[in-house]
């Protein structure tokens, strides 16, 4: 194997010199999810007799899941027939996720969780204030201006101009 290939094909990524370690996990996740969906599909009630077997609701999803599982089982071996492409993917995923990305995911989940209670309008204000802060913005005047001006702009354009209904959420308790 040439030096270049060795560089693209790090042994650390291989199990028994054949299977890509991370892709094996990726494939397993897809196969397990597929197996679960297949099991779910077996629970679908059959179509009424008058419609015949062809129209059963599970046929198409089952075919699709089987195809998906077959394709997923190839993934761990892809490194054998297209090492350059897998090396590119490896390069991207070798960079571990930054703490800020995890913080962003938590922030997004938190914002969406409270959105129904707060209502879209207040959620926009909270988002515009919290997001730059979590992302490390230190200029508080800029944050203050942005957190008021941008949601107001969105409200005026989409509610007043386009007539989009904004659920009042927490604002309804103000009256």
């Amino acid at each position: 194997m040439s030096k270049q290939k060795q560089k693209l094909n790090p042994a650390t990524n291989l199990v028994a010199g054949l299977v890509h370690k991370i892709d094996l996990i990726v494939a397993s996740v897809i196969i397990l999810a597929g197996a679960f969906m297949y099991y779910e599909a077996t629970l679908f009630p059959p179509a009424p007799n008058i419609l015949g077997d062809t129209l059963n609701a599970d046929i198409f999803p089952k075919m699709l899941i089987v195809l998906m599982i077959i394709l997923a089982s190839i993934i761990p071996f892809e490194i054998k027939f297209m090492p350059e492409k897998i090396a590119k993917i490896d390069k991207d995923r070798s960079i571990s996720l930054e703490p800020i990305t995890w913080k962003t995911i938590v922030l997004l989940i938190a914002l969406v969780s409270v959105a129904e209670f707060l209502g879209p309008m207040v959620t926009m204000f909270v988002t515009a204030a919290c997001f730059p802060l979590v992302w490390g913005e230190k200029n508080y005047v800029r944050i203050a201006i942005y957190s008021v001006a941008f949601p107001l702009f969105v409200y005026l354009v989409f509610n007043k101009l386009l007539g989009l209904f904004f659920d009042p959420g927490v604002l309804q308790y103000l009256n």
């Binding site: 062809t54 609701a57 998906m68 897998i86 993917i89 997004l108 959620t123 988002t127 730059p132």
Partner: protein, 492 residues
């Protein structure tokens, strides 16, 4: 004649002109901003167009699509940061030319080549769409099923990191489309007891999540990246003599781009790369490529813009998206109650002509807006990410909520975004998933109809010559990723 006049007449109304120019402005803007893209902009805009005139909304999105392709070239040339994937090839020679002190000339060449490419493909678009639709009108469920399978198989050769992963993403997209009540039997599928899922998963929140949220998470790890100093000066359009010298290349690249655009699933990025490679192959001075050569800018630019027009042909005539972005336009057509496919041109021909007119206007508009404002559009890359991406999230939140005024859709958007982000890290692209999601109902519906017609015998499908042709094309398409290796071995 009447539909042509009606379609083009719609574009003369001031509100519609305003929407088209708005689409062009947004297109150039998002094209210029690295990370933002025209598919993302269309996904975000889609729910807000519900209250607008359907034809004007679609025309605006078509204009945005055209302009977005060019917008990416501005930053590719000025700061070597392609705003969109189709502009990557433009940066190979555009940025060196800008560094050689001719940024205005590079922009001028890119703009003129884009306009020529765009107009060339529009001529093909308006001529080919009705013809192709007429052919497709003779298709039955078997032929349509074959066509949809062929379109999905093209995901294997779609630009991406892995053909297998593209196909898996396509399957996941189709599988998502099966959630909800099965229309033929009334059986509820994959609803897991969640009442909102019985209606199925709306594609708009999924699209917003996949394109906007996953990119937001990607961008969160690049907050410290510094954009290099830009070198925007003024625009310089190429002279007539220069254009005369480049006319062969422009025509060749436009033809190539249009052809690639027409192929299902292939998009502007593939067209641009092929446009660049072909320009180099045909060039008398290939050694100049990469140093700021005219032909290295004109080739990919004419090809990528031509692909945009070409991609509209299968989208409107067959209901099969020609690219990731046209998959979103197809979704918008469905959302606005149109019936994509050959019936579109028989039922609402004015829409096709309105789209043609909007794209024609867009081609000239981005020449004006893009070039007069090149300096402005390159400056937008300096908008701090700490404010730009929260704004994208706000639009995503409001957009997914606006679709049916339900917070459940906001959750769908968020989950799609997070799952999409991790999928992208492992080499899965969002575009094939979107194609699967959009094509899913067509594949299942035609498969069921065909099975009923042929008494549950799949082998009887092969009695149709058209179906056999599509299956042969499918095999060719699925094997295409292995061709380079096979040919390499043979040549050795």
């Amino acid at each position: 004649m009447e539909p042509i006049l009606k379609g083009l007449g719609l574009l003369l109304e001031w509100q519609n002109i305003l929407l088209i120019f708005g689409g062009v402005f947004i297109g150039v803007l998002v094209g210029a901003l690295p990370g933002l893209s025209s598919p993302m902009a269309i996904a975000l805009l889609m729910p807000f167009t519900i209250s607008l005139d359907p034809i004007a909304s679609i025309a605006m999105m078509a204009a945005l699509y055209c302009a977005g392709t060019f917008g990416g070239s501005i930053t590719a040339i000025l700061i070597n940061a392609p705003g969109a994937p189709p502009a990557v090839a433009t940066a190979f020679d555009g940025y060196p030319m800008a560094r050689n002190g001719e940024p205005g000339r590079a922009l001028g060449l890119a703009a003129v080549a884009s306009v020529f490419g765009g107009i060339f493909s529009l001529v093909i678009f308006i001529a080919a769409t009705p013809l192709l639709a007429e052919v497709a009108l003779s298709f039955g469920p078997v032929e349509y099923f074959g066509l949809a399978i062929f379109a999905l198989s093209m995901l294997a050769s779609m630009s991406g990191k892995s053909s297998i992963r593209n196909l898996i993403a396509g399957c996941i997209g189709v599988l998502i489309s099966t959630v909800g009540v099965h229309l033929a039997t009334g059986v509820e599928r994959f609803d897991f007891g969640v009442s909102e899922l019985t209606e199925g998963i709306h594609f708009v929140p999924v699209l917003i999540g996949l394109f906007a949220m996953s990119e937001l998470l990607t961008q969160s790890s690049t907050l410290q990246d510094v954009v290099r100093v830009m070198s925007a000066k003024s625009l310089k359009l190429p002279t007539f003599a220069e254009l005369k010298k480049l006319k062969g290349l422009i025509l060749r690249s436009s033809g190539l781009g249009t052809f690639i655009g027409i192929l299902p699933a292939e998009g502007s990025t593939v067209a641009a790369m092929m446009g660049y490679n072909e320009a180099k192959r045909w060039s008398k001075t290939p050694e100049k490529f990469g140093t700021g050569h005219d032909e290295g800018i004109v080739g990919p630019e004419a090809a990528n813009n031509a692909a945009a027009g070409g991609a509209m042909v299968p989208t409107l005539a067959l209901g099969i998206p020609g690219s990731g972005t046209t998959a979103l336009i197809l979704a918008a057509l469905v959302m606005h109650g149109f019936r994509p496919g050959p019936y579109l041109i028989t039922e609402t021909p004015e829409l096709v002509y309105a789209i043609f007119g909007a794209m024609l206007i867009a081609n000239f508009a981005f020449l004006g807006i893009g070039l007069a404002g090149a300096r402005f559009f390159s400056l937008v890359t300096f908008i701090p990410k700490r404010f730009l991406w929260p704004s994208v999230f706000i639009f995503s939140l409001i957009g997914s909520y606006a679709y049916s005024s339900a917070f459940f859709d906001v959750w769908v958007m968020l989950i799609s975004g997070i799952v999409g982000f991790f999928m992208m890290r492992h080499g899965f692209s969002p575009a094939p998933l979107v194609m699967g999601l959009i094509l899913g109902p067509l594949v299942e519906e035609t498969f069921t109809q065909a099975m009923v017609i042929h008494d549950s015998s799949f082998f009887q499908f092969f009695e149709s010559g058209v179906f056999i042709i599509f299956m042969v094309l499918t095999v060719i398409s699925l094997s295409s990723p292995f061709w380079p290796k096979i040919f390499k071995k043979k040549s050795k």
